[in-house]
Symmetry: C2
């Protein structure tokens, strides 16, 4: 979360409160979609979770589907933007791959509800949103594939099938959402660092 | 599929036909659960898919939940048994790990409907079945962890956190269910071989 601008903070408190409440609603909806499943979670459940009357909830959001769609907006895009910046940035292919894996793993671990819900409720997304999410996933895979290809070319990585290598890495990293426990033995940074090293080792020349 | 025993084949044709039909019903149910989701798929859909009246379907199976439960029986257990045999068998830790990864990937690719449905419908499983499936998953992870630990001890593998290494491998291998296409560029054997090599490389001393 960035800080709010002064104009925003002092001039438009009502709008700020409203934005905060919308964010709380989206987070509660995601949590409930994850726990109960999208079909089973009701608008009443979501209203209860944020302490609103169901009627008031409709002031912020028009439908459960809108909540599902909105909860996907921005998340993948943000992580994708960070990873693109690393891929396009300075550093050797090894350094960039390490940073990309690290960023990706942290992106999964810091958006656990959203990852769980997306992987399970993909079929509930309206076609346009689904296409968008799938395009983001392809773009993500392409970035990994490109940096792996560069690494093979400059002989930092061993010869490999770059597409399979990207899919292997993304699988290993996405799967953390299934076993990560917030109060487990290792925190998110430690897991991200460990996986970044594993990825480099798997590709190593 | 093993061959049927002669007694079975000649003496009890009715029972054999019945077993085949039950198998077809389970396969159709899994396919529909995967396509439409467990909640949305109806007994009528399943009856239609195998060309039975809905009433006749109940001759073979008492409920949709029974179909879900039965479709998990045996699958993971079979792959787990194969992987245990490899882990306990002859060969260096490197050879055994390679064979275990290969077997696991083929197990995923040859049971795609079941893997998809399990990962999405876990919450729909009755508690006893869920506990059983989770115990099988733990047993699987323990086998990988054990062979990785042995490999580190005998210095075929580099020093590593064996549990994280097992989770990384299982993630990379399980994830193939998300991107594999039956008529894609590579067949299941080629992918299994490729992933087995990646796994060994990731752990390599």
């Amino acid at each position: 979360m960035g800080r709010l601008s002064p104009a925003h903070a002092t001039g438009r408190p009502r709008r700020r409160r409203s934005a905060e409440r919308e964010k709380a609603i989206r987070a509660a909806a995601l949590r409930l979609f994850r726990q109960k499943g999208y079909d089973a979670a009701s608008m009443q459940d979501i209203a209860d979770a944020v302490g609103l009357y169901k009627g008031s909830l409709y002031y912020y959001v028009s439908s459960k589907e809108e909540l599902l769609v909105r909860s996907f907006e921005g998340r993948a895009e943000q992580v994708l933007g960070q990873i693109r910046a690393v891929a396009d940035g300075a550093g050797t292919s090894t350094e960039r791959l390490r940073a990309m894996v690290r960023t990706y793993v942290l992106g999964v671990l810091r958006n656990l509800d959203s990852v769980h819900v997306y992987l399970r409720e993909e079929h509930a997304l309206p076609p346009a949103t689904l296409r968008q999410v799938q395009a983001e996933q392809r773009a993500m895979r392409d970035l990994f594939e490109r940096v792996i290809r560069e690494g093979v070319r400059d002989e930092r990585f061993a010869a490999t099938d770059p597409k399979l290598a990207a899919l292997a890495l993304l699988g290993m990293c996405t799967w953390v959402h299934r076993w990560y426990r917030a109060r487990g033995r290792l925190d998110d940074e430690a897991i991200a660092d460990d996986f970044a090293e594993r990825a480099v080792r798997m590709l190593g020349a």
